[in-house]
């Protein structure tokens, strides 16, 4: 059974047309859709062209709908094809090549063209607009050949083009007819601050200048102004404005004015023909910005699909300049006029400016320069024609002290679900709320990946954050501040307290009782909870292999190709010829790819097949070096007093003793120790979790050092006189860290979070608490066992974990 599908022909393959199609596809599949586009590209994000020019994005980055999208949605796409007219009699769309395509409905979304000044010479080579990828490419090429450029027009587009060309190394002068830049979006004050900032960034300006003629032979060589002054330029960008592209409509006999005239449902004067975007004129207004076209597209989609919709009543537009380091924003009525009450604040030191315009106490417009954090809030308030109150004034203009950036979450509540939050990608509040509630998203990044909101200019990020906060309520704050992962809002301390209070024994029990959103947790919380259980119940907790990261489960480090490494213990970095011989034999026998000396003074066999691991452990017959574990890795030592002429303490002996004592015990994160025989510190104590430095009368202990991703020099904790004291204090430090550290938190972070003084109070000053810590770690240390030996004695697990099953075709 085939039902007749109505034929929808879309003229224009840009953001307006395609976003309308996307909206239609969400509502119905009843249309058989054909799209005509005169550019050679699929739909791309035109407003991001400035970034392409600036070099921060490529053309591929800004494609919104790639060719697969058209295919997947069954849309017939004709690129590089211009439509000539709509034939109302035969109900066909006619291309310039004379091809005729029948339609039931037509959507005209032909956008706009650069307005080229009607002055002599404007058709010369080297004069371009700034509208599409072709223009952008010409500008990129010109920058490689020519030096001097002029941009005619000091509006949004002109300034972005100028900045792009400066970035590309050109000498650029912006020529502007008026005395103020962006005079259609900014007031005089903000405009002059903007000009000063852009001059600082290398753009030159010629203000109040009327271009009379473009000079040159075939190619442009300069500009002559109305006052007969001249400016040299080998390349000219015309960015004086846009004009709606109404050719098709006009040819077809559709009512046009400046743009294609549409009613509140985006219908044109011709039966079955709609229009959206920059080519339209609605209630006398032609919009040249992106946000209105999404609002229009949504109403059109509903109407064309026969779904009830409110009429389109026009848009309040706002502007954001996309030049890095220049933050400008304006919305609504922003030029002071009679009847306006003005609230303004200019700070020349911080180079910020903020102005809010009221009419009969109602907020009707705003301008921001420098600091635009309030832009989303203001846009919202002005759109809703909010009345100014003392509270609002306080929150918007503030006094600059005591949490000025406090909570401003109220406005998203009153936003309707259909309201567009992300103007660049046409994402509504409803869509964002939907993915938060139904897909459990909890961060702006997730929302970005899922919906595209904030993906382009990023200007709507504050609103997306506010919506997130509003929907998640308290969950947002706790999740953000403390929840150990997306499965729970509870902090580490709360979880540990609950485990103790309720006597919870397994990760499953913890997650069930404490209301995890995902019953078996995730890769972040399962290992953490398994660690906390082991820390609390060292004797009775049965370690859950399935809750361990692969490395700890296999007692070996997985490599990117799925092979593993084996690191046997060499206590204190000391080995023997017998051990080296065994390592050499095993390496040859099992075809080890690399034998490497590690940073921790021992040897690692790299490139071991999974099935060979148990055999290698057996043949080496050495203890596991725990190179894969959240536990004590190595104790690095220098030669020390046994041999070194400077040595004051036996660092090798003490290092080996400490490594033997504390090995195998689970800790929140990996743990490294160094023992030095004298203050020359050859074994680098300052970058270890515990660093021990011998001196003539005893030892000095350092903690919280890290030489890895975030380097931190260790803090001196104390000096001790005897070896017993040294070991006792190490015990107390390690156990205190075990009991209070967050899973995966290194001591460098732990020391900063807990505070050195607090740690001193517990492990040094209070003899009782130190003793208790030492007793607890001794008890825990009695439970540990070498994992390699254990696995060698457990045939069943070993087989299931290390050996694959081979099945071949025996048909």
């Amino acid at each position: 059974m085939t039902t007749y599908r109505e034929k929808l022909v879309v003229i224009g393959n840009g953001m307006a047309g395609i976003s309308a199609v996307e909206q239609i596809l969400k509502l119905t599949t009843k249309f058989d859709i054909t799209v005509f586009g005169s550019e050679q590209h699929p739909n791309y994000n035109r407003i991001m062209l400035s970034y392409v020019l600036e070099g921060s994005k490529t053309i591929d980055d800004i494609v919104l709908n790639d060719l697969h999208w058209y295919q997947d949605n069954g849309i017939t796409l004709h690129i590089g094809t211009t439509v000539a007219k709509i034939d109302e009699q035969t109900k066909e769309v006619v291309t310039e090549d004379g091809v005729r395509v029948p339609y039931d409905k037509v959507l005209i979304a032909t956008g706009s063209n650069s307005f080229i000044l009607p002055v002599p010479g404007s058709d010369k080579e080297g004069v371009v607009g700034f509208r599409d990828i072709a223009d952008c490419n010409q500008m990129l090429q010109a920058a490689q050949v020519y030096r001097k450029a002029a941009v005619i027009g000091g509006g949004l587009l002109g300034l972005e083009a100028a900045k792009g060309l400066v970035q590309l190394g050109m000498d650029v002068t912006v020529v502007h007819l008026m005395d103020d830049l962006m005079e259609r979006q900014l007031d005089h004050q903000a405009s002059s601050m903007l000009q000063a900032e852009l001059e600082r960034q290398g753009i030159k300006f010629k203000m109040g200048a009327q271009t009379a003629e473009l000079l040159g032979d075939k190619r442009v060589s300069g500009l002559r102004f109305a006052d007969d002054s001249v400016l040299d330029a080998e390349f000219v960008v015309m960015a004086v404005g846009i004009k709606p592209n109404i050719v098709v409509a006009k040819e077809s006999g559709i009512d046009v004015n400046r743009g294609i005239v549409v009613n509140d449902y985006m219908q044109t004067s011709m039966e079955g023909v709609y229009s959206v975007g920059e080519c339209t004129e609605h209630r006398g207004t032609c919009y040249g910005l992106v946000a209105p076209l999404f609002e229009q597209g949504m109403i059109l989609a509903k109407h064309i699909c026969g779904v009830d919709t409110a009429p389109y009543e026009g848009s309040v537009v706002s502007t954001k300049l996309k030049i890095s380091g220049v933050d400008v924003f304006s919305t609504g009525e922003f030029i002071d006029g009679p009847g306006h009450m003005i609230i303004a604040n200019k700070d020349e030191w911080k180079q910020t400016y903020k102005k809010i315009l009221l009419r009969d106490k109602v907020m009707v417009g705003a301008v921001l320069f420098g600091d635009i954090t309030d832009s989303a809030e203001l846009q919202k308030l002005i759109k809703q024609r909010t009345e100014m109150t003392d509270e609002l004034y306080e929150s918007l203009m503030g006094s600059g002290c005591c949490g000025g950036g406090g909570k401003k979450t109220t406005s998203v509540e009153s936003m309707s679900n259909e309201e567009i939050v992300c103007g660049c990608n046409g994402v509504t509040k409803g869509t964002i709320v939907d993915v938060i509630t139904n897909q459990g998203l909890t961060t702006v990044d997730e929302i970005k990946a899922c919906t595209g909101a904030t993906r382009s200019c990023g200007g709507c990020k504050p609103v997306v954050e506010q919506i997130l906060q509003y929907v998640l309520g308290d969950g947002f704050k706790t999740a953000d501040k403390q929840g150990i992962c997306g499965c729970t809002t509870m902090s580490r301390d709360e979880i540990v307290a609950e485990i103790k209070a309720k006597g919870l024994q397994t990760t499953k029990e913890v997650m069930n009782v404490l209301g995890w959103s995902q019953p078996e947790g995730c890769s972040k919380c399962r290992p953490a909870v398994n660690y906390y259980l082991g820390m609390i119940y060292p004797d009775s907790h049965e370690d859950e292999k399935e809750s361990r990261f692969v490395n700890e489960r296999m007692s070996a480090n997985i490599q990117k190709d799925g092979t593993y490494t084996v690191i046997p213990r060499m206590y204190g970095g000391i080995t023997t010829p017998e051990e080296l011989k065994k390592i050499a034999d095993v390496s040859l026998k099992y075809n080890i790819k690399v034998v490497k000396v590690t940073g921790g003074q021992r040897l690692v066999l790299v490139g071991v097949m999974k099935a060979d691991l148990p055999k290698i452990w057996e043949e080496l017959d050495m203890p596991s070096g725990y190179g894969y574990a959240k536990a004590l890795r190595t104790v690095k030592t220098c030669v020390g007093s046994q041999f070194c002429r400077f040595g004051t303490q036996d660092s090798m002996g003490m290092g080996a003793l400490i490594e033997r004592k504390f090995e195998r015990l689970d800790l929140p994160a990996k743990f490294k120790i160094a023992v030095n025989g004298c203050p020359r510190n050859c074994a680098e104590s300052c970058t270890k979790d515990i660093g021990i430095v011998g001196n003539d009368g005893g030892w000095e202990i350092f903690i919280g050092g890290n030489g890895g991703i975030k380097a931190r020099l260790a803090d001196s904790l104390c000096k001790v006189k005897t070896d017993e004291e040294l070991v006792d204090i190490c015990s107390a430090i390690i156990q205190h860290y075990r009991e209070t550290g967050n899973y995966l938190e290194r001591t460098s972070e732990w020391v900063e979070r807990i505070g050195l003084d607090t740690i001193k109070a517990v492990v040094l000053d209070n003899a009782e608490s130190r003793k208790a810590l030492v007793n607890r770690i001794e008890f825990a240390l009695q439970q540990v066992e070498d994992p390699w030996k254990k696995m060698l004695n457990d045939d069943k697990s070993r087989n299931r974990m290390f050996h694959r099953l081979e099945i071949s075709n025996q048909l």
Binding site: Q518, E520, R526, R804, L805, S808
Partner: protein, 115 residues
């Protein structure tokens, strides 16, 4: 969409107790590496032992939660039922039909027929 395998043939790959709960095991089925997982509810899933992440790598060593797998090298979350990678990442892993009969696990593949 990838489930309409022509000539789908089930092979016995081992008894259920050959597969630890929530710990993956690789089977080599006619030269194809497949990662087999028994989830905590006693279901068994089979997926190709190759991460859809651009950098690849094995999947059998991942952490299992419910019917999801966390990629051991890249932490991508993968639905074991469909093979779909969960947002914000994208991709899909080939899944193979599984049945359990009398404590015996069967996995179906047809790849060797088409190769």
């Amino acid at each position: 969409m990838n489930m309409s395998l022509p000539n789908e043939t089930f092979y016995p790959v081992g008894s259920l107790d050959q597969f630890m709960k929530q710990v993956g095991r690789v089977i080599d089925l006619n030269g194809v590496e497949i990662a087999v997982f028994q989830t905590s509810d006693g279901n068994v899933f089979a997926i190709k032992n190759e991460s859809p992440h651009p950098k690849g790598g094995p999947l059998a060593e991942g952490m299992v939660s419910g019917h999801y797998l966390y990629d051991p090298l890249h932490d991508w979350k993968i639905d074991l039922e469909t093979g779909n990678v969960q947002a914000p990442d994208h991709g899909q892993v080939q899944v193979y039909p599984v049945k359990i009969e009398d404590g015996q696990v069967w996995v179906a593949t047809s790849e060797f027929l088409t190769v």
